[in-house]
Amino acid sequence: MSEAAVRLGVDIGGTFTDVVLEVGDTQFSTKVLTTYVAPENAIVEGLQEVCRKAGIEPSRIQQIIHGTTLATNALIERSGAKTALITTRGFRDVIEMRTESRFEQYDLNLSLPEPLLARHQRYTLDERVSASGEILKPLDNAEIETLVDDIEAAGYESVAIGFLHSYIDPTHENQVREVLARRLPKVMVSLSCEVSPQMREYERFNTTIANAYIKPLMKSYLGRLEQKLGTEGVACPIFLMHSGGGIISLENAAEFPVRLVESGPAGGAVFAANIAARYGLEKVLSFDMGGTTAKICLIKNHTPKTSRVFEVARTYRFKKGSGMPISIPVIDMVEIGAGGGSLAHVDSLQQIRVGPKSAGSEPGPACYGRGGENPAVTDADLVLGKLDADNFAGGSITLDLQASQNALNNNIGSQLSMEVENAAFGVAEMVDENMANAARVHAVENGEDLSEYTMIAFGGAAPLHAGRLCEKLGVDRLLVPPGAGVGSAIGFLRAPFSFEATRSVFMRLNEFDSEAIKQLLSELSDEATRFVRGCAPDEPVTSQYKVYMRYSGQGWEIPITLTEAQATAPDAETFKTLFEKDYIALFGRAVEGLEVEITVWAVNATTKAQPAGDSQSFSTQTAAPVSGARDVFDPAVGETVQSSIVLRDEMNTGATVNGPAVITEDQTTIIVPSSRSAVRQSDGCIDVKKEYMA
């Protein structure tokens, strides 16, 4: 057998750039500070470090998989290129008028987020296509030429083109592109019929504009990265993680950079999905909690749930509607403002509220001793005994317990006449309740019952709260994988090459056209496969078929998965049966006598996911070595309990400890509640279950 495969996963996050080098089955990881001005520098620094740890030359790396928040940050910070929109006359303000509603009902001083492009950067042309694809007003080339004069005079670097109903007939968008390409070859162009060919103009236009807005930046960054890695002796191909949980080529990423938004969290979900596969778990809830937010994702049959649209850059308490919609294939996650740094206060109703405001890393929670005076979740965790002041982050920071107590007393305890420990209990309990409620609402939306689920927790703060969350949600089993601090980067290495092609075409089942459907799905399959083949010419590629269906008159579609056979020989009766089955699962019952219609068609072409490996069973369970004990408040019991302290490094396969216990490691601490016990699995996962070990 030849030398072990060498692959590198890189995740650029807001604070840290995580780098994981995998040599065969062995992983070497590091975290370096993100270098905003030239993000490639942090990658090189991390790469050198992990290569040194592994004792190999960078030239031996065979593949790099990269994910980044740079695209997201550019949208949040509005630091993209000088961009113009060209749209249908009469519809200049679609991205500014949004849904014409306020996302917060009771705030008289509400501000809506500014659109990505101000009104004078939005241009119109006289043209119109109907909902059925008929050209109602042809587009005159002379008018385009005149408009291009204006675009040139204003010096735009990037242009988004979005016409009404272009997902049905893209002729006019292509017509404008041709003129732009001829007249202004250096200007980058993004067409709505390519970036997001889906009905609903606000979402499609905004997505196309976002793509155009970040394209010059991302193209330049990816070019520099390739070059810089070359000078380091890395000659292998670089691939990018996309928000749908798969990998695309560098060229595709540069063309459709909006698909990179949310690539980091997508990596986390893939990481969890891979562990789910390893354990053969059909239903998994992934729970990722960091400093400012928590993310929750449902994973069924080892596949994270996906969606067609999501919202980025929320401006108001993570509230739905306060950001901008991006309609691309994406792993469906709930993100709430609940992290270790989330700040607590008492509101006018004498209730404890936690988040979404965060202490960030500066000043950080009060216990960091950097001047933070407001209590954060981490302060509550410290007071409750869940954290050890002297052994936080591997002992790199000594936490100031007194500062946490003062912050909690001054801001919570004194207002509510509570002792500091109860104030801390209140803060921790409220943040856990917020996360549990978000998970419950998400489950209801998807017609799922969480009590059948297993939780997989990662991210710095998750293992501190996961045990309590399981109790609240009635989840019996919790897995805390190793490498939880760099979960997304590991997830990149587990992701398949994949690309999803979608199209909006309306069809009622009573007008079912088998031939047209066959043709459409086959076109979409070819299109998606072409993208994947570009990355992985030799691997087998399979197509997964999905259609979005609803009763005529409804506004929400539900995704229906088709088998290859059902997609290649479509018939109306099968579609109806599949739809009703899923509808009943989601909403309890089907509705008699209503027409059913299909609105969106999607084909995801994918290579096989990286093998999950096995979790070997172990024959003997042994008591884990207990290195000490400390008092930890157990919210379910309602009082402080003496808990065993176990070092994760000292837990061998089969080592067990009964709750209440704390399992500590450099990156995080796992709290095992009194109601549970923990055992180390052969792959290093800590398995926390609702049962006692003998």
């Binding site: 303000d93 109602l136 009404l164 209990f425 409220m430 309740e433 409804q554 209503l594």
Partner: protein, 587 residues
């Protein structure tokens, strides 16, 4: 377990109940058929204690249900009778006076039982597509013409659905499958709320809701009263606003009195009933008056029986804001949406620098009823060489009948420190539908939907812009448009020297004048040209930051002439802005 930890647990339960009703509402949004529910958020959901007092309510698209929902369950208890409330029951009504203000809102109430004991209720309301009668519009002369009336009754008796009721419902409405689907969706969403409530009661080992209800009510009452106590006790003020109405202009009058622990709002002096269906049952007036006061005074406090109680709303019987049976009330929102601005005209005198200037108020909704054109004879047999005639007949033969309802917004009023919001609903919170989606629901063509430059009232803070819409039909179709617009003759007025917003206008593309309200015919090939109103300005225009004036000009929010005459920009400044836009250096 100590009492401090109990306090934490009660907070957790309160949060949980709010989450339960959000889930309940979410389930309804996902399963309902009505456009108004699923796209626009016109629904409500709440949980009640066994006395029928509301403990928590979902925050949804429509403040119009705020008090209506709070009051509804008490009516159900009275009508059904305590002894007749049994496990497995589901109750229903669309009574405008005991439900939420018009026949198009169906309210469903489900009693919750835990271990065989009645512990509380869930209620939810949704605006449904059609309830028979004349259809959704203002043209009825009494509530009898507005559709099927379902008195408070059992939809399900111990789990058995009343089949007779369903037969009657099916036989009286235009879209029976959708309506029946919506009724089941309402029942399902209560069921989801109920299951989650029982989970919570088991987790916290509760036998009833009395403890948690008392906790919620005590905290809410104290917090609301603290907000009211911060106002000048004894203050009183009256405000008024004149609007178009239907048959004749309507004067709305509100008088506020501030007490140490409550606020009263009385609508004495308000116009009497209109002949057409824009009259408002008191419950809906209470909702919008209360909503307005809560936004300004106690925005953070969740809605429940205790937090709503300190706001006492009254109005003379058979004034337009306290219409009694059998007044027509289908479009009660047209007047209802104007109530907050009226209340603010009074509140501004007590609590300066807090409330916005007047805005568009009423949503700019219209319904289009399309049908094949009737101006040519479809059975004619023209000379086959007459291409035009052949084409016309072919197109008309492809035409269909269809109803399309759209929700649209004008501009909101400028705030004391902020501009008004462009084309954004206030006080309603409903969402518009994408044009592409609307054009898939029927053979309608929206030729224009964009901001209306110059429509925001000038001021130190500018009113929000209204919008232009142009609506026509696919070839071969003609249509009626049911307009539901106000502010044609009575634009939004400013505060502190702010200028009025632009009024509504509506006409055919050939210039033929049209009415702001009512069903009107649009011949084949014609378009309706609409301009929806802007919000009013706040403060004198001359005090506006010149940089903001330049920004507004660059973006085309204001016209050159307004920049010059209202805001005093010089010709050279205006030229500079235009040059900056052309060469791409404008912000």
């Amino acid at each position: 377990m100590n009492t401090q930890a109990d306090k934490v647990r009660q907070q957790v339960m309160w949060n949980r109940l709010i989450s339960v009703v959000e889930e309940q509402a979410m389930a309804l949004v996902r399963t309902a058929f009505s456009t108004s529910v699923r796209e626009a958020g016109d629904l409500s959901a709440g949980v009640y204690n066994v006395e029928g007092l509301m403990m928590a309510q979902a925050v949804t698209g429509t403040p119009g249900h705020v008090n209506a929902m709070a009051d509804a369950v008490a009516h159900f208890i009275r009508r059904i009778g305590r002894d007749n409330i049994l496990e497995g029951d589901v109750y229903i009504t669309n009574d405008p006076w005991e439900g939420t203000g018009h026949l198009h809102d169906i309210t469903v109430v489900t009693p919750s039982f835990h271990c065989g004991v009645h512990v509380g209720f869930f209620a939810c309301t949704a605006h449904i597509v059609d309830i028979g009668g004349r259809g959704f519009g203002a043209d009825a002369n009494s509530v009898y013409e507005e559709g099927l009336y379902i008195p408070i009754m059992k939809f399900a008796d111990q789990g058995q659905v009343d089949k007779t009721l369903m037969h009657i419902v099916r036989g009286n409405v235009r879209e029976p499958d959708q309506l029946v689907g919506d009724i089941y969706a309402l029942a399902t969403c209560n069921e989801i709320g109920h299951r989650r409530l029982i989970d919570m009661m088991s987790e916290f080992d509760l036998k009833d809701l009395s403890g948690i209800a008392a906790f919620i009510f005590e905290n809410s009452k104290a917090a609301t009263e603290a907000c009211i106590a911060a106002l000048p006790t004894g203050a009183c003020a009256a405000g008024e606003m004149v609007i178009d109405g239907y048959s004749a202009p309507v004067t709305l009058k509100a008088k506020l009195d501030i007490y140490s622990d409550k606020i009263t709002c009385d609508f004495a002096g308000t116009s009497g009933l209109d002949k057409k269906g824009i009259n408002v049952p008191l419950v809906y007036t209470k909702a919008y008056a209360c909503y307005a006061l809560k936004c300004a005074i106690a925005p953070e406090i969740p809605n429940n029986a205790a937090s709503l109680a300190p706001f006492e709303i009254t109005a003379p019987e058979n004034s337009i804001v306290n219409a009694l049976h059998p007044a027509p009330v289908a479009l009660r929102h047209v007047i209802g949406h104007m109530i907050p601005d009226t209340v603010y005209n009074a509140l501004d005198q007590i609590l300066p620098d807090t409330v916005p200037a007047e805005g568009a108020g009423t949503l700019c909704n219209f319904q289009v009823s399309l049908r094949p054109r009737t101006d040519i004879d479809l059975n004619a047999e023209p000379d086959p060489s007459d291409n035009q005639a052949m084409h016309d007949i072919a197109m008309a033969k492809q035409a269909v009948r269809s109803e399309v309802l759209t929700f649209n917004s004008g501009g909101s009023g400028a705030r004391p420190q902020l501009d008004g919001l462009n084309a954004t609903a206030f006080p309603s919170g409903v969402m518009t539908m994408p044009v592409e989606a609307t054009e898939h629901t029927g053979p309608v063509i929206i030729w224009r939907k964009e901001l209306r430059p110059g429509s925001g009232g000038a001021g130190k803070y500018r009113g929000g812009l209204g919008q232009y819409m142009e609506v026509g039909a696919v070839e071969g179709q003609e249509f009626d448009i049911s307009a539901m617009f106000d502010r044609v003759d009575h634009p939004a007025l400013g505060r502190q020297g702010g200028q009025p917003g632009a009024p509504t206008s509506i006409a055919l593309d050939d210039g033929t004048a049209m009415q702001g309200k009512g069903r009107q015919f649009v011949p084949h090939g014609k378009k309706v040209m609409m301009a929806f109103p802007g919000g009013a300005g706040y403060g004198k225009p001359a005090a506006r930051d010149p940089e903001l004036v330049k920004r507004d000009l660059a973006r085309g929010y204001i016209t050159e002439s307004s920049a010059r005459s209202d805001y005093g920009l010089s010709d050279s400044e205006i030229n500079q802005v235009n040059t900056d836009v052309k060469n791409g250096s404008a912000e």
